[in-house]
């Protein structure tokens, strides 16, 4: 991490605007990566159950979330 980001993190860690924006972005990143990985797993022939097991969620949850994506 650069010096500039260190300073930004140190100076604003208790600023809710900064902290909440970071959480929102982290959630977006998580969702993005999950979508990519689920997509890839389905492409490789994984079942919803297999995907759910590794993600540590229920098969219903992962199926409900991604079936509309068409994969």
């Amino acid at each position: 991490m650069s010096e500039a980001t260190d300073v930004a993190a140190a100076a604003s860690s208790r600023d809710p605007a900064v902290g909440l924006a970071a959480v929102a972005s982290l959630r977006a990143l998580l969702e993005t990566l999950e979508e990519l990985q689920v997509d890839n797993a389905r492409d490789q022939g994984w079942s919803w159950q297999q995907i759910a097991d590794v993600l540590q969620v229920s098969r219903q949850a992962v199926h409900k979330k991604y079936r509309r994506h068409g994969f």
Binding site: G19, A28, T32
Partner: protein, 187 residues
């Protein structure tokens, strides 16, 4: 209502939609429209702005301030405060899944990024006033210069505020447009 818009005026409207999409905005606001108008570098609009001695870079700076509003879903600045370097993540993901992989996902594109983006109330007002300004000057076609005039009405929000703060004024701008049209017709 766009039948009488010139090709360049339509390009401004399309540019505004792209600008709104870029900012993940819910709707096209007059700040997006003004941004697109500046980008279009229309000779008539430029001549009018030059008449007011407008510094485009200063105006763009003002615009960027207004437009910061909603952040993109994947915000590199916000992630950097957690020690996450979005560029590194993007590079790793693209190594495995190909160029643009992160931004191709639904989650990465975010809400405002897909489909048609509606015009907000103030932008609708600008488009309506564009027609009225052209009628007033007895111009048949609606060009970018009429969009500029429309933005100088008080009810058009952000664009009006930025332009008038920099000294652009409706009555004088109308005169300038009229004069420039007369010169163009005469030549």
């Amino acid at each position: 209502m766009f039948e009488r818009f010139t090709k360049s005026a339509r390009a401004v409207v399309i540019g505004a939609q792209e600008e709104a999409r870029h900012w993940h905005a819910d709707a096209v606001g007059t700040e997006h429209l003004l941004h697109a108008l500046l980008d279009a570098s229309d000779p008539l609009v430029d001549a009018v702005l030059d008449g007011f001695d407008i510094d485009r870079d200063a105006l763009r700076y003002d615009l960027d301030h207004v437009e910061r509003g909603p952040r993109p879903p994947l915000d590199a600045d916000a992630l950097s405060t957690l020690g996450i370097d979005l560029d590194t993540v993007r590079r790793q993901v693209e190594d495995a899944f190909g160029p643009g992989a992160l931004d191709r996902t639904r989650a990465g594109r975010g809400r405002g990024a897909r489909g048609h983006i509606r015009f907000d109330r103030t932008t609708k007002k600008v488009l309506e006033l564009t027609l009225r300004e052209a009628l007033r000057l007895r111009h048949r076609d609606l060009g970018p210069e009429h969009i500029l005039l429309a933005m100088l009405h008080r009810e058009t929000g952000a664009a009006h505020d930025l332009l008038t703060a920099r000294g652009v004024e409706l009555a004088a701008a109308r005169q300038a447009v009229e004069e420039l049209h007369r010169l163009a017709d005469a030549s």
